[in-house]
């Protein structure tokens, strides 16, 4: 028992030592990149939405059309190998917008198409995006229940 405890202690000491000399990510630089790239993506989205509204599409339909265009752009930039270059610098700035969601699906589809349409693209397309959908639905369900209780009580 003592031996095991001593071993754990040595491991802990080593991990602390590693933590000390590990280079820290450049947080300010990363934040700025994320802020500006994320911002630019949102501005582009807004411009597209404004355009749809200007051609007399209802606000609700314009939002849906904008998502479609943004997903297309994300998918297109992934296909021509640009989106991963943006993501490398922007981090969450390019992951959080809907273009990042498109990237996560198209990147998997491209990578696993070599395993065929069924077990490759079909099965593995949602390897990254799947959890987002699953827990998004769970969260929506929980919020829905809370909303339901608030209406009746």
């Amino acid at each position: 028992m003592h031996k095991k405890q001593a071993e754990e202690k040595v491991k802990k000491q080593y991990q602390d030592k590693v933590d000390k000399i590990m280079p820290k990510p450049p947080i300010l630089k990363n934040l700025l990149w994320a802020f500006f790239v994320g911002g630019i993506i949102c501005v582009i989205g807004q411009l597209i939405q404004d355009y749809f509204i200007s051609i007399e599409i209802s606000k609700k339909d314009a939002a849906a059309c904008t998502s479609v265009v943004m997903v297309f752009l994300g998918a297109f930039l992934t296909g021509i190998g640009v989106y991963d270059e943006i993501g490398k610098r922007a981090g969450a700035g390019s992951v959080v917008p809907i273009t990042g969601f498109a990237n996560s699906i198209v990147a998997c589809a491209m990578e696993f198409k070599r395993e065929g349409f069924v077990f490759g693209i079909g099965a593995k397309m949602f390897v990254i995006a799947g959890p987002v959908i699953v827990y998004g639905l769970v969260a929506a369900f929980v919020v829905g229940i809370i909303h339901w209780f608030r209406i009746f009580y």
């Binding site: 754990e8 080593y14 590693v18 990510p25 993501g87 981090g91 990147a107």
Partner: protein, 322 residues
């Protein structure tokens, strides 16, 4: 006793490796990472075939002269190696030592020659950045940010031809490492995870042989990167061995600062391309006469780290003297 001699080597690298610090020490530099093949894995098989063929052809032999091939890579079930060996069709033993595979192949090859079981054989290892990314991390086109401690898997392969006689540096001593696991769990932090294994093997080697680090012109570790290297120097100093003058890590020798590789290179090909190019040339030119090559491998798998296991690591040391 037949002292094994490294009579020839060959290496290959991808475009990024070709533009790196050791660009002129490659036999073949590929123009792109896939070379018109259908998959990264096929490209990796091609690289392995190329280096073994090139290494034996350099000494005017042919693949048929190889009595055995010992080789391995990073992928599940040694995929790239097995398909390369299907083409080369020679007696074959597959090895998995993660990034220590090159050293492991030379070590076991050396034992086979020393024991009189073979006269000429090849040891080889390969890795491919994109094939490794897709197996161990994410699809290659996914826009993810890598932490500064992350290392870049080398696209490349190296092969060394060992023989019972001939000209070249000799394998004189080998220390087989044991698995060391200091509880690091993050698969991005491979250098610091492997460093204690490298130190354990180095200390064992110095203890067994009575040598000191100064006995060697140069000591090389496989793929610890900048941070792992720093830790090795520190830990060895604590054990009373001074490595500050004649120690380098192959992972720190491949990429330039501006190539965005972060903490350095990793993968089977890290030690393979550096030994089979730069180091071997330096030995042949007699710039080095005694080196110690320590192959380091982190033996985790995608399943193991998802199941929250820590990273078991290993290091093997091989003394090579002219």
């Amino acid at each position: 006793m037949n002292q094994p001699v490294v009579i020839s080597t060959a290496n290959i690298g991808g475009p990024m490796e070709g533009q790196g610090l050791l660009g002129k020490h490659f036999d073949i530099v590929m123009e792109d990472n896939i070379k018109n093949f259908d998959s990264w894995e096929q490209c990796e098989s091609y690289m392995l075939e190329q280096v073994i063929t090139r290494a034996i052809e350099k000494i005017s032999g042919s693949v048929e002269n190889l009595e055995f091939i010992l080789a391995g890579d990073l992928l599940n079930q040694l995929m790239s190696t097995h398909f390369a060996m299907r083409t080369l069709a020679r007696p074959f033993l597959g090895l998995y030592g993660a990034c220590s595979t090159m050293i492991e192949s030379m070590m076991i090859g050396g034992m086979m020659i020393d024991g009189g079981f073979a006269d000429v054989l090849a040891g080889a290892a390969s890795s491919h950045h994109d094939a490794a990314e897709r197996q161990y991390r994410f699809p290659t086109e996914l826009g993810v940010q890598r932490p500064p401690v992350a290392q870049w898997t080398v696209t490349g392969a190296g092969a060394a031809i060992l023989a019972s006689k001939g000209n070249g540096p000799k394998l004189t001593y080998a220390t087989v490492g044991k698995i060391v696991d200091m509880g690091i769990k993050d698969p991005n932090v491979l250098g610091p995870a492997m460093a204690p294994a490298a130190v354990d093997t180095l200390v064992t080697h110095f203890g067994d042989t009575g040598r000191t680090p100064q006995y060697y012109d140069m000591i090389f570790t496989g793929d610890l990167g900048d941070i792992g290297k720093e830790i090795v120097i520190k830990l060895c100093a604590e054990k009373g061995f001074d490595l500050s003058n004649n120690y380098e890590d192959c992972g720190c020798m491949i990429y330039k600062e501006d190539q965005d590789a972060h903490a350095g290179a990793s993968g089977c090909a890290s030690s393979a391309v550096v030994f089979c190019g730069y180091i071997y040339q330096k030995l042949c030119e007699k710039n080095y006469s005694k080196i110690l090559l320590v192959g380091t491998g982190s033996l985790h798998s995608p399943t193991s780290y998802q199941q929250n296991e820590s990273i078991p690591c290993i290091a093997h040391a091989l003394a090579i003297e002219v």
